[in-house]
């Protein structure tokens, strides 16, 4: 059984889609099932994804904008169905077998909550806080769901595509005599 088949068998009914690009395999799973899927992938014989090498968010709302020049309209492939606005991506590594897997969950606007995976990997603590800070996606059950990079009270989520690069004039000032 090759790698992709083992992954498919392990993810089972939770598999939404599976793609392979130049040797990198990625699977999409339902948002609510991420903890169960990752637990199985961590413990399955022949897979043993015991290391979370990264966890990050993606904002797809600018996807397809800014097309390359010199490409005619009719030469382009038919537009793929628009994915949900946000994704959370988990990059897994098996130290035992030295293979990698990308697991994605899709996050719709209005359902900005994903179960935390800090119960599986402690290392997910800060990346999940970063995703919350930058995209506003909350992680249910996280022990310390605070901003990681921007200061408390920062009003926006700056890696969203509708946020301007130079900000909206947020400033942080020193205030004396304040609690």
């Amino acid at each position: 059984m090759d790698f992709q088949e083992r992954v498919k068998a392990c993810v089972g009914d939770d598999l939404v889609s599976m793609t392979e690009f130049r040797g990198d395999v990625s699977v999409t799973v339902p948002r609510t099932r991420i903890v169960q899927v990752l637990t199985r992938l961590k413990e399955a014989e022949g897979l043993k994804f015991d290391f979370l090498s990264d966890l990050f968010g993606v904002d797809n709302s600018a996807l397809g904008k800014g097309k390359k020049k010199g490409k005619k309209e009719d030469e382009e492939a038919p537009a793929a169905p628009k994915p949900p606005r946000y994704e959370v991506v988990y990059l897994l590594l098996s130290i035992e077998y030295n293979h990698r897997l990308m697991v994605k969950v899709q996050v719709e606007e209005g359902q900005m909550e994903v179960p935390t995976v800090t119960s599986i990997w402690k290392a997910a603590n800060w990346p999940e806080r970063e995703v919350f800070d930058m995209f506003g996606i909350r992680f249910k059950g996280h022990p310390n769901m605070k901003r990681l990079l921007m200061w408390d009270g920062f009003p926006a989520h700056p890696l969203r595509k509708d946020y301007p690069l130079e900000g909206e004039g947020e400033e942080r000032r020193l205030v004396y005599g304040d609690a």
């Binding site: 990079l149 921007m150 301007p164 690069l165 942080r172 020193l174």
Partner: protein, 167 residues
């Protein structure tokens, strides 16, 4: 203009202002505030190769209360602003600020939501050093420029105004 005085047997005649400026300009103890790669160049300027102590910057003070010159070397994020402001407030008068490097002067390449576009938006700056990062010679030149500025200062004017009010 150097220090001018008339000397006789048992007396020295000069301006108190000149004496104060002479002392202040020749002992600008720096507070190193390195937040990025400029900090490395600042360390080189302070270490034996360039030896900024030659100009009286004898002892890098890691307490703001015993420092005269804040050398702000590096990027200041907006999150860092209260820290920088508090450090500056804790320094005792008289105090001066050198903004070292493109980031401290203007935000540099980091024209983004998270970076302060120049520390002069938060604290007053006396000397700007351009460069990314500036070489140690640049920082030493800035210190010499600052010494020239200190020599033209009038440290007694406030006290004089107070005296006139009292009389």
């Amino acid at each position: 203009m150097g220090f001018q005085a008339y000397v006789g047997q048992g007396w020295v005649l000069s301006k108190l202002e000149q004496l104060i400026n002479w002392g202040r300009s020749r002992s600008p103890w720096p507070l190193p505030y390195g937040t990025a790669c400029c900090g490395i160049e600042m360390m080189a300027a302070l270490a034996s190769g360039y030896d900024m102590a030659r100009f009286g910057a004898e002892r890098p003070s890691f307490s703001p209360r015993q420092a005269d010159v804040l050398i702000e070397a590096g990027t200041i994020t907006k999150k860092m602003v209260p820290v920088l402001r508090r450090i500056y407030d804790q320094m005792a008068e008289p105090k001066w600020v050198i903004a070292m490097g493109a980031c401290a002067c203007s935000g540099g390449v980091f024209r983004t939501y998270s970076t302060l576009q120049g520390i002069d938006q938060v604290i007053p700056v006396d000397v700007y050093v351009p460069g990314c990062p500036p070489r140690p010679e640049g920082l030493i030149y800035a210190l010499l420029q600052l010494m020239e500025k200190i020599k033209q200062d009038h440290p007694l004017y406030p006290q004089l105004a107070e005296l006139k009010k009292g009389v």
